[in-house]
């Protein structure tokens, strides 16, 4: 029922992992095929099941100007068929063998994945390799699928005030025409006019073995995966892909505050998003410090913001932070809070910032840093418990130009973070002029909090 379910929330989903599940614990085996396709194998023998994923180093940030949404539309169209497997044969065959599948698109990558009994790996590889270069598109199918995606946009964005606010605000967080400023699903008018030729052009420009990563996790043998990968993916011709554009922000952003008022909003929300380094452009030490900072300041019911604003001052129903370190361009550090009824949103916003500044002024409590670091590092053990965690972490890192070491050395980097590192990171967050704020508000006549 929900193919492409992850499409747009993938960034949040992955950050969850890149913050917590990364560790020197997945111990992946890797090799590269003669045509340049990188392969990662993560054996896990709990159940006779395999997860097979192909990640393309192409997402919505790689779209040509005026064609927003084409990366994601193509993701949908990849299920239509090839000469060898026409009319949705991919999904039919997979289901006949009890397999499950999905696909996703983000700003930085597009991916396809199947979970199936381990002895069906060869069948899945044959199917996925076939559609890497042999896609056939019927113009009528493209038109129908574009309608499906427009309904997806209605469901995810138009019907959802907070998603609309986020979409508007992102244009002010990045310089004009920066691809992170536009939605992954595309602007409605551009999406509605996308054609079969647009989809095929994006396909030919980006879908090639040397622009893809194969990740196989589960009940598999590394040598067998290698044999199969060479047989199915290794025979596909190299097709040079243009270098990806540099996404790191170098010119000024618009900034400012975006407010959305809507009759269907019942709980106001304030947020502040600050551009910060990511693994793409920051020293790894700073990235680790920002992750620890986010954990101390705003993760869960024992964090500083929660204790001060929800428990002590009783200004908020909820508050927290979020840091996205995995982007191919800049990362984002986000502070957010929702007021209790009758609390003014501006008062709450000031209280959040004041609490963050207090941490800068007073430093950490004795033992606070060690406690937080130790629980972050233990989370790596839980990550190993899930077959898919390593596959998602490593796949997204490689597709975003990061390295396996970025993932595997994560516990070491977290352990090395000092109090001064955390405070320096906080100083960087609070002092960076590249930020935006948002307010989600109910209609003024209706009752409820807000200003």
């Amino acid at each position: 029922m929900t193919r492409h379910l992850f499409t747009l929330c993938i960034v949040c989903l992955l950050t969850l992992f890149s913050g917590h599940a990364n560790a020197g614990v997945f111990n992946p085996r890797t090799f590269t095929l003669a045509n340049g396709m990188q392969v990662v194998v993560l054996p896990n023998h709990r159940a006779p099941v395999v997860l097979h994923m192909v990640w393309y180093r192409a997402g919505s940030a790689d779209e040509p100007k005026g064609k927003s949404g084409v990366a994601h539309l193509l993701e949908h169209l990849m299920f239509k068929g090839t000469t060898k497997n026409p009319d949705g044969a991919f999904s039919k065959k997979l289901a006949q063998h009890g397999g499950q599948e999905n696909a996703f698109t983000s700003h930085d990558y597009t991916g396809y994945h199947q979970t199936i009994a381990a002895d069906r790996l060869e069948m899945v590889m044959a199917l996925e390799a076939d559609r890497m270069t042999n896609l056939v598109l019927d113009p009528a199918d493209v038109k129908t699928e574009r309608d499906v995606v427009l309904e997806e946009r209605n469901q995810r964005i138009e019907n959802n005030p907070s998603a609309r606010l986020r979409e508007q605000a992102h244009q002010t967080l990045f310089p004009k025409d920066h691809p992170y400023g536009r939605p992954v699903i595309g602007w409605r008018n551009e999406l509605a006019s996308l054609t079969r030729e647009d989809a095929l052009a994006f396909y030919q420009a980006n879908y090639a073995p040397d622009n893809a990563i194969l990740v196989v996790a589960g009940d598999v043998d590394v040598h067998e995966v290698k044999r199969l990968a060479e047989k199915y993916y290794g025979v596909i011709d190299v097709s040079p892909v243009k270098p990806r554009r540099d996404l790191v922000v170098k010119s000024p952003i618009k900034g400012g505050e975006t407010i959305l008022t809507h009759e269907r909003v019942r709980q106001p929300v304030w947020s502040k998003t600050i551009l910060q380094p990511s693994l793409a452009n920051g020293p790894n030490e700073r990235i680790a410090a920002l992750e620890v900072l986010s954990e101390i300041l705003g993760d869960g019911g024992t964090s500083r913001l929660y204790r001060k604003l929800v428990i002590e001052k009783q200004l908020a129903v909820n508050t927290g932070t979020y840091y996205d370190s995995g982007a191919r361009g800049d990362g984002r550090f986000i502070l957010y809070a929702s007021p209790r009824s009758s609390v003014d949103l501006e008062v709450l916003a000031n209280a959040v910032e004041a609490e963050a500044k207090r941490m800068l002024d007073e430093g950490l409590e004795p033992g606070e840093l060690d406690r937080v670091k130790s629980r972050m590092v233990s989370n790596a053990i839980f990550a190993r418990d899930e077959m898919k965690a390593g596959a998602w972490s490593i796949g997204s890192a490689l597709a975003s130009k990061h390295t396996i070491e970025d993932v595997e050395d994560w516990p070491t980097r977290i352990k090395a973070v000092s109090e001064q590192d955390v405070l320096d990171a906080l100083k960087g967050v609070l002092g960076d002029p590249r930020f935006i704020t948002t307010k989600l508000l109910p209609e003024p006549l209706k009752k409820g909090g807000g200003s």
Binding site: V49, F79, G88, A95, G98, D147, G301, T302, R375, R384
Partner: protein, 438 residues
Amino acid sequence: MKALKVLVVLFVSTLPFCAGAVDVERVISPGGIEAWLVQDHANPLVSMHFNFKGGSELDPQGKGGLANLAASTMDEGAGDLDSQTFQRRLVDHSITLRFSAGLDRFSGQFKTLKTHEDEAFDLLRSALSEPRFDEEPVARLKSQIQSGLRSDSEDPSVIAFTTLFQGFFKDHGYARRSKGTPKSVDAILRQDLINFVKTRIARHDLKIGVVGDMTPKRLGELLDRTFGGLALKPGSAEAPEIKAMSHGRVTVVEKDLVQSNIIFGHAGLKRNDPDFYIALVMNHILGGGSFTSRLYSEVREKRGLAYSVGTSIYPLDRAGLIIGSAGTENARVAETLEIIRAQWKRLADGGLGQQELDDAKTYVTGSFPLSFTSTSAIARVLVAMQVNDLGIDYLDKRNAYISSITIEDVRRVAKKLLKADMLDVVVVGNPEGVVSKP
């Protein structure tokens, strides 16, 4: 080529479950508490799921949301530890402890590293048997729940779902949302929470599933320590049986939305019905199969009417249901509903081919083990097996239940179950050409 495919398909349908990877043991503690265990020593951690019979359907009149509020506050301070101290013990030891209240059951989910096992089980014992319900955390959690309820009151899918259930169940507890209403949550007193724990958290009808780095002997000790102090029998009455009442009602809830949210359904089968597995396969064909179901193909793939469309069987303890949903632009709601009703009727009239049935059966058997990829997921299945009385050898037997289903079985059950003119429909949005019909 064709012959080869048939062979492969047959092989799937007789594939033994997990070839020895999952070995379920029944553990009875010295004190007589039962848990089902799967030992897995690959990682130094333990996952446990458990539940108590009786969920929010038993919440007292005017105090809807009691079980849910208890679930939200039992881990907010217990014994000598106040809320913040208790929560910090959990996070600093990387312990997951979460309670939740469904319509039928009160459940717990628990995960710990082996190194913190003693501390973790002790915190769980304390939360179950001596929660404090201090004023501050109760007030705080009430305000969070009420904030969520206010937001839900404008969420199209929540509105649709609630409206459908109110139509089905009238005054029965199933008609109420398990989170209650802002008003009913307000009415819950500390004494109600204390009574809830005293009368509902009892060893009778407690089901436990454990997976991970654990031996039967050690588990026996931990079970007694953790659950041994609980009352033997619950003090609450059982909720009454009820049949979902539908008669082809259409309810339009006007909202200014670009896309209408549609939900539809009628009575179905309960989990213990002898035809349950047939209904499972039937539902897969109709709307359960993600990218291959009839509704997916007719509504989405061929016509581009919706991004998401599908059905599921929804077996509650006291009433079975089959429910579906779709999201489509306002102008095409009528067309979408027409297609859904036509598909409902086509299957009820016996329109079904052998190949389609065989494909559904191989999917339903072959996909079952795919979720067994974390300790927590397996622990959840162990509890479901006990709750539904499926037997400890269920994982080995399930394939045979599915494989033996014939085309006549599905036709018979589809004819009995699927009633297009009895489908209750709720549309939230501004649909064109669709009006309410009481």
